[in-house]
Symmetry: C2
Subunit: 387 residues, 2 copies
């Protein structure tokens, strides 16, 4: 047996917690995935037609069985229950299920669940201890409530596009769905805090998140600076890596590749590298002369290899790193020792490899080899169990 394909057998913290996930795409389902890996039983409630639309979302045209690889990645370790929520009979069955659940999550646009009769006030009457979590693009109220809550659009309107890249670059998106992922992470926080609260008081809560609030929260350091000064912290003209940090913080091209340099004071940096041109600058100038210092370094570091510079900086205990792609990272001993991957067994006998949960408990990694469910795979068994 492949040692990677095992599931964790130890008792998990959320054992016994039942989560109903009325979610699709990434934000809500990524929260469900985390709860599942922490031991909750996560049941996706899906439309009997197409289900979670992520099942048919192609990424690089990669498919596994009938669903997109993306869907498998986000929805492993869950069950699927299909119900037509417009059928009175099926809705009644869903309500019985809600009566026995601990958590209900949805990421529909504001108003959709209410229209179905599954808004918080309605379901609270069925289950006073229920934790009800809702994720939207812009919150339930205000002029934007009905707008599509899509990651790139929210990045565009949240100011985030002026964090990465250099000053003269246009707006620069972050190349992953960071709003969805952060919002999902914060939904997990809110849900778990509400479960702690319920243990103390017996009462449920409604937890609300939005992509907009999550993306602003991610910018809390830079936004607070903006509130204080009224000036947007500008990206460096060259080698920018964080708009708030002075020189030399950035990524530099070398003779053969690239080098990351963190906050290193000017004097030890100059000495370690042997860069005489840096003598024009002292520590008081790392903000005022940020671009000039970075330009001197950028020109100088091209003269030798990354390994050459790394050796000189590390000899003095200064913070630097070579830039790796995944192939280079996977080839390292550190990666192999960190047990970062896991194998998911599919029902057709195939398997896929994916990341494991980043949280370790009592020194052990959390693994699960359970695949994503086929649409409606568990409807019959769940009906039998709960009705």
């Amino acid at each position: 047996m492949n040692p990677e394909s095992k599931s964790t057998t130890k008792s998990l913290p959320l054992e016994g917690v039942i989560v109903l996930e009325f979610c699709q795409y990434l934000s809500g389902p990524s929260a469900g995935l985390r709860l599942a890996d922490l031991g909750a039983r996560v049941i996706k409630i899906e439309n009997p037609g197409k289900g979670d639309l992520c099942r048919i979302l192609p990424i690089k045209n990669r498919w596994v069985e009938n669903d997109s690889l993306l869907f498998h990645t986000i929805n492993r370790n869950k069950e699927s229950y299909t119900a037509n929520l417009k059928s009175e009979h099926e809705l009644a069955e869903i309500k019985r299920l809600i009566g026995k659940a601990d958590v209900l999550m949805h990421n529909f646009r504001p108003g959709v669940m209410e229209k179905l009769g599954l808004g918080y006030e309605a379901v609270k009457a069925l289950n006073a201890g229920l934790v009800y979590a809702e994720i939207s693009g812009y919150g339930a109220e205000g002029p934007w409530a009905r707008k599509p809550g899509q990651d790139l659009l929210l990045q565009a309107m949240s100011g985030l596009m002026f964090a990465s890249g250099n000053q003269k670059d246009g707006p620069m998106p972050f190349g992953l769905a960071i709003g969805d992922m952060l919002c999902g992470a914060q939904a997990v926080q809110g849900i778990l805090a509400a479960l702690v609260h319920r243990k103390r008081t017996g009462k449920g809560s409604r937890i609300s998140l939005s992509l907009l609030e999550s993306l602003l929260d991610m910018q809390f350091e830079v936004l607070t600076t903006y509130f204080a000064s009224g000036k947007r912290p500008l990206r460096s003209a060259v080698n920018s890596a964080h708009p708030l940090l002075g020189a030399p913080y950035g990524i530099y091209a070398t003779k053969d590749s690239h080098l990351a340099i963190a906050m290193i004071p000017i004097a030890p940096l100059r000495e370690a590298l042997g860069c005489g041109e840096l003598e024009r600058f002292d520590q008081s100038m790392v903000f005022t002369h940020r671009d000039a210092i970075k330009q001197v370094l950028a020109d100088f570091l091209k003269s030798a290899t990354t390994d050459h510079w790394l050796a000189k900086l590390r000899e003095k205990g200064l913070w630097a790193m070579d830039v790796k792609d995944w192939k280079q990272l996977k080839a390292t001993q550190g990666y192999r020792q960190s047990n970062l991957e896991q194998i998911i067994k599919l029902t057709n006998g195939q398997s896929i490899k994916t990341n494991r949960c980043p949280i370790r408990i009592d020194g052990e990694v959390l693994l699960s080899d359970r695949p994503a469910p086929t649409l409606g795979e568990h409807t019959a068994s769940i009906k039998q169990e709960f009705n």
Copy 2:
């Protein structure tokens, strides 16, 4: 009284939970901040000399009282207790405090807490129900355990630098400390899950996180694709916004500014914009001809303003957005209605403005006007209370 400067008065979910934060800089303290905003009592345990080194970390040279504005932003709503952990007497006092705490968090390098006699096995003997959370750069074991766990260096070695920017750009850092923030968010998840577990079993747990595992987790969609194909998903040559998504997904310059376009199928996009040149392409080509399609769009969209294109796309219900900086965002009605800011009152009578917690509970935002503590501000009162 300024309505923004109020603290939430309703009962908060983590009321009664005592957290000892042996943390500095961003990853651990950002977790402590979230726990505090959710109602926990968070006590920073600091060195009596300088305390959390973030107090003296300059960002854009902005200071508030004696500490950096950055420190205030991350450490508001907490208490500060100073102790020299190398003094036997003061360590004994800390141990008494640990005996009464619910959570202990630290982000020292692996081995430091053990050397102080505050490793998990040692403190578990003092408090079997304690939730002990540790954040490191690379995990407690393996060849990297003693390396500096700094955000930019971890971004550099995690493969993340090939997500943003265009294909011919070099490695592109994400311009905020995203590893620190995600790792802190996941620490909160682990801690809260462990509190739920403790309510059920009476037992504490050790929760371990690392920046490396958090940054790989953030890449789980793209990494799973890489595991399946052996090929790194490449960024677009032009207008890249997510390496896994086909055309037109990206940010485009217009006659006067920029426009974000999400996943819109080619045919309705062509019709809405009136872009005849797109007739050369159909939906089956959005991956194979991604760069060519994007280049056609990039050239075409320069001919009119963002508002012009937005009106045409929105008329058809297609997903697009103008790109805003913070000034433009703050000027919107939606921002004003969302109650996104809060005022922190400082002990010297000044106040600062910052973001609030992104989680809403029962429809209410969580506000706290408590400032960051001065170094050791609460040492005496906490000693009196707990000894």
